[in-house]
Amino acid sequence: MSFDYFEHAADIGVIGRGATPEEAFEGAAEAMFAIMVDAAQVRPLVLFAFAFAEDDLELALVTWLNRLLAESRQRGLALGRFSLNRADGEWQGKAWGAPWDANMARGTEVKGATLTMLHVGQADGAWEARCVVDV
């Protein structure tokens, strides 16, 4: 699993790659949270889990990313590690993180994952998940 970025004039494009859609989604989450905080500084002190249902693979990516944003904000957590599984049409997500502290190098807040340049598909034998996030 890996992540990368692509160009957008005002905001930032995130890309996750992996052997499965789930891995690619995890990569996209890492890309998105790395905009906000240096993941190396986020210790996995708190774990939370959640589930969501979404049949549309692309909308599932946006739902996953936005759910992580919402959960992290309302829990006051910086996130650095992610896990996603899918079974019977339901997505089961987990994330690990730590409360924000003064020593964390702050980046730029992501407001939401958008449907712009949204794509989930296979390329060169690997899954790729990408979209623009609004900052």
Partner: protein, 477 residues
């Protein structure tokens, strides 16, 4: 942008002729030839997509500061007629609903604050929660938050944040009607609990500025501005609640559009007919987010006054105006000589009512609405006044900022936050931020020439320049 696709109307207005087989409403682009030539082709693609949406009144248009956004371009303006099947679009408003600028005029001149500038900048940075992960001191119960969702800045004033008489200088008198807290998800409400009275991140800022040049003495007098005067501009929006409403409705309206048979050239244009249950639901939630933004800026203005009061007890900070950038509002406009009630989407664009408009406070009735074009932290900003001409040209709309000329990822490759802050300090501009990455992304060189944007805004007849403001200190999120 591919200029060969455009047809020049005048020096700062361009139309986009239909291609063979193309069916859409007219498109207008405002801006000088050089501004348009430097815009991404995506701006044209996005505004052309907007012109395909149902019930569009007149033209879909972009302001001189337009750049590539998501769904709508940033700087996009489009009005829809509910009686003609017109739609309301979550993508046409954006995630940061009612992001805008509260501008405060002080009774101080630069020479009075100059000896205290470092102290002011440090104290404001301590008092104003800014940046990702930061929370405000104000924690609201669910019932209190529902009151904010309907009360807006009026709620804030009733709870000790500011003065009732300044609400006259806030759009909607500080309270957006039609807010429906029940249409706002519990997620959105929970996200807001720690975020009232916070600045946010990205391009949000609190800036101390000095009036460097007056363009229109009569309008400046009406706005209470003079050369050398210190102003404070606060740029922020509806925080986590607005972001979550954008998130919630983006997906639900995208699905609704499919169900309702609305063809979306871009899924980000997620929308529903204004008169549909889905459209009305979003409208009620969006209006609630507008109230959160108005309350948030009211609280931040109050915190700013407290800081000034501690350091410069003689300081008085009055609200010049409070304008929103990301909204959809019901307004009366004439189209083809006929007056119609339209839902005007402004995404990264400012309302700019001209002289005589009944919504303006008496003080500004002759001069027109104050319009603020917020520039980068190293260049400057403009105060303008709305014009009568803008009513017929752009549904009384104008530019909202300098507009990005370079992506954030490119800016990160080109500048380093610490160096940039040192460079600006050497030019007499103090930056306070927790995020070196954010500072680099917001480098002045990543923005268009604000002078050109303001001049083009005036030349296009959208608003006329009143004053130029030079930054002296900036708290960045």
């Amino acid at each position: 942008m591919d200029m060969s696709r455009l047809q020049k109307i005048d020096a700062c207005a361009w139309s986009v002729p239909l291609r063979a087989g193309e069916k859409r409403a007219p498109v207008l682009l405002y801006g000088s030839e050089s501004l348009l030539a430097s815009m991404d082709d995506k701006v044209l693609e996005q505004i052309t997509n907007v012109a395909c949406l149902p019930g569009l009144a007149g033209s879909a248009m972009t302001m001189p500061d337009a750049h590539w956004g998501y769904g709508f371009p940033i700087g996009g303006v489009a009005a829809f007629d509910p009686d003609q099947g017109g739609i309301i679009s979550a993508g046409g408003v954006g995630f940061d609903i009612s992001c805008g600028i509260r501008c405060l005029r002080t009774n101080l001149d630069l020479q009075q604050i100059a000896p205290h500038l470092e102290r002011l900048a440090d104290a404001l940075f301590r008092a104003i929660p800014a940046g990702v992960g930061e929370e405000g001191k104000l924690k609201l119960t669910p019932a209190q938050l529902d009151d904010v969702l309907t009360g807006g800045a009026q709620w804030a004033v009733a709870h000790g944040y500011g003065h009732a008489d300044e609400l006259e200088y806030v759009e909607e008198r500080g309270q957006m009607k039609g807010a429906v807290p029940g249409n706002v998800s519990e997620f959105a409400k929970k996200r807001q609990r720690g975020e009232m009275g916070t600045l946010g991140s990205g391009n949000h800022y609190l800036e101390l500025q000095v009036v460097e040049k007056i363009y229109d003495p009569a309008a400046a007098q009406a706005f209470g501005l003079h050369q050398g005067q210190v102003l404070v501009s606060i740029h922020c929006g509806s925080r986590g609640l607005g972001h979550q409403i954008g998130t919630d409705y983006l997906v639900s309206l995208a699905k609704a559009a499919g169900r309702l048979g609305i063809h979306l050239p871009d899924r980000e244009l997620a929308c529903a007919p204004i008169n549909s249950p889905e459209g009305q639901e979003y409208l009620g939630a969006m209006n609630a987010a507008i109230n959160v933004a108005l309350a948030n800026r009211q609280i931040l203005a109050h915190l700013t006054r407290e800081v000034f009061g501690e350091i410069l007890p003689q300081a008085s900070l009055e609200t010049l105006f409070d304008v929103s950038h990301n909204t959809c509002k019901l307004e009366k406009h004439a189209v083809d000589g006929k007056e119609r009630l339209l839902y005007v989407h402004r995404k990264g664009a400012t309302r700019a009512f001209g002289p005589g408009h009944p919504a303006l406070p008496e003080r500004y009735r002759q001069a027109g609405q104050p319009v603020i074009i917020g520039g980068s932290m190293g260049t400057g900003s403009y105060v303008l006044a709305g014009t009568r001409e803008s009513e017929s040209r752009a549904f009384s709309s104008a530019s909202h900022g300098a507009g990005r000329a370079m992506s954030r990822t490119q800016a990160l490759k080109r500048w380093q936050g610490r160096e940039l802050i040192r460079d600006l300090a050497s030019r007499g501009i103090l930056i306070r931020t927790q995020s070196m990455r954010g500072a680099a992304e917001e480098a002045p060189g990543a923005y268009k020439d604000v002078d050109e944007v303001a001049a083009a805004t005036e030349q296009a007849g959208l608003a006329k320049r009143v004053a130029f403001l030079r930054p002296k200190a900036c708290v960045k999120g």
